[in-house]
Amino acid sequence: MNYRAQLACAWIGLASTVLLFVAMWPLMHFLPPLDPALPTATVAAIYRTNGTGIIVGGLFLLAATSALMPFFSAVAMQLTRMERPSKLWTYTFLTSAVLGFVPLLIAEMLFSTAAYRPERPDEIIQVLNDFGFIMFVGPALPGTVQILASAIPVLADRNTDPIFPRWVGYANIWAAILVTPGCMVTLFKRGPFAWNGAISFWVAAIAFGIWVSINFWATRRAVLREMRSA
């Protein structure tokens, strides 16, 4: 088996989460995300002054989300070991990962489109910004399904020596619940449930970060154990 490649993919997941942060914070200046209640002219001015940062940061975002896919595959390898011979939750995990991360690519392109022609009228830049952030935070539900699909096989694992410790399954359910409120962003322009809100953005982002860290750890541990017993 390609254990070393699996370990590398697990590490890539951790690295791309850091890269996501670098893209959002020092480059795009989107941490915290732009306030949805900002006046149109202010939004346009941000895209005109930090256009290059937003476009370059967008490329980092593209790289980070793309690099998460090998990580998800490394986790999926362990999920199949748990639910063997069925692959039900592994398939659900991988398809939802794609469904959940495609909007992030589109969001990145919307941000870049807004910065691409800074001479456009303010309102058009604002539309692209709104669309970008709604795409970025709003499609939380595929994430909920994806993370739940990483919880069920852990709890249903019938191996005598479980692949992941059972508490990881419960922690994953917890993370799945906490990424969910992001789906409500279109209802709010301010407060904790708006796209820059404490609950829909920060809690969800932190829960996702914790989910990546825990599952990186559990995947690495499982691969190393499999390697030793092989």
Partner: protein
């Protein structure tokens, strides 16, 4: 005189399994963060929050609290019955607990319905955004908890509930108590806080 050292009578017992407490404590932690956010926002506009709170119907809040506390009692009795090796009795008690859960959902529907009919919706003001969202997220927990209770009910009715039956009852029961606990705090924050 030497102090008498009493021998430990119990090795310590974690209800359910250790892992389920990651979810329960994690959820309590998340809700604590939600409540901190609520209190921070409230501190910025106490007058608005108090005025909006006065429009809530406390009778619904009280009814919901009574329903959930009663259901928690039924669940606790069901766990005791399961430990005593009486799964049929557990099943009956779980049905009573589930009925209280259904009552909670119906009462919530009437409460929300009355508010919406009065023109008070999600974006009426900040207080109501919190009110609908937090009680909504809590309602989602009630639904998940009822799913867990239904699972425990089917297991209690099985001829042989299996070796992990008591642990499953304890873990599921602990989750239900957490849903109850969060409601009690929500009730205090939204209906009673002065």
């Amino acid at each position: 005189m030497q102090p008498t050292i009493l021998p430990r009578t119990s090795a310590g017992h974690i209800p359910g399994e250790a892992g389920v407490w990651v979810l329960i404590l994690g959820d309590i932690f998340a809700f604590s963060a939600f409540f901190a956010v609520f209190l921070l926002h409230r501190a910025q506009d106490v007058a608005l929050f108090s005025a909006s709170q006065a429009a809530l119907d406390r009778r619904f809040g009280l009814l919901n609290t009574a329903l959930l506390l009663t259901s928690s009692l039924f669940v606790a009795c069901a766990v005791i019955a399961a430990r005593a090796g009486a799964p049929r009795r557990s099943a009956q008690l779980l049905i009573l607990a589930l009925s209280c859960g259904c009552g909670f959902i119906v009462s919530k529907a009437f409460e929300w319905g009355a508010k919406i009919a009065a023109g008070i919706t999600l974006n009426t003001n900040e207080f109501y955004s919190f009110y609908y969202m937090f009680t909504g997220i809590h309602l989602l927990h009630v639904l998940v908890g009822m799913g867990v209770l239904i699972y425990l009910l089917t297991r209690s009715r099985r001829g042989d509930p299996g070796a992990s039956y008591v642990a499953a009852m304890e873990g599921g029961g602990a989750f239900w108590h957490m849903v109850d606990l969060i409601w009690v705090v929500l009730f205090a924050l939204f209906y009673l806080l002065r």
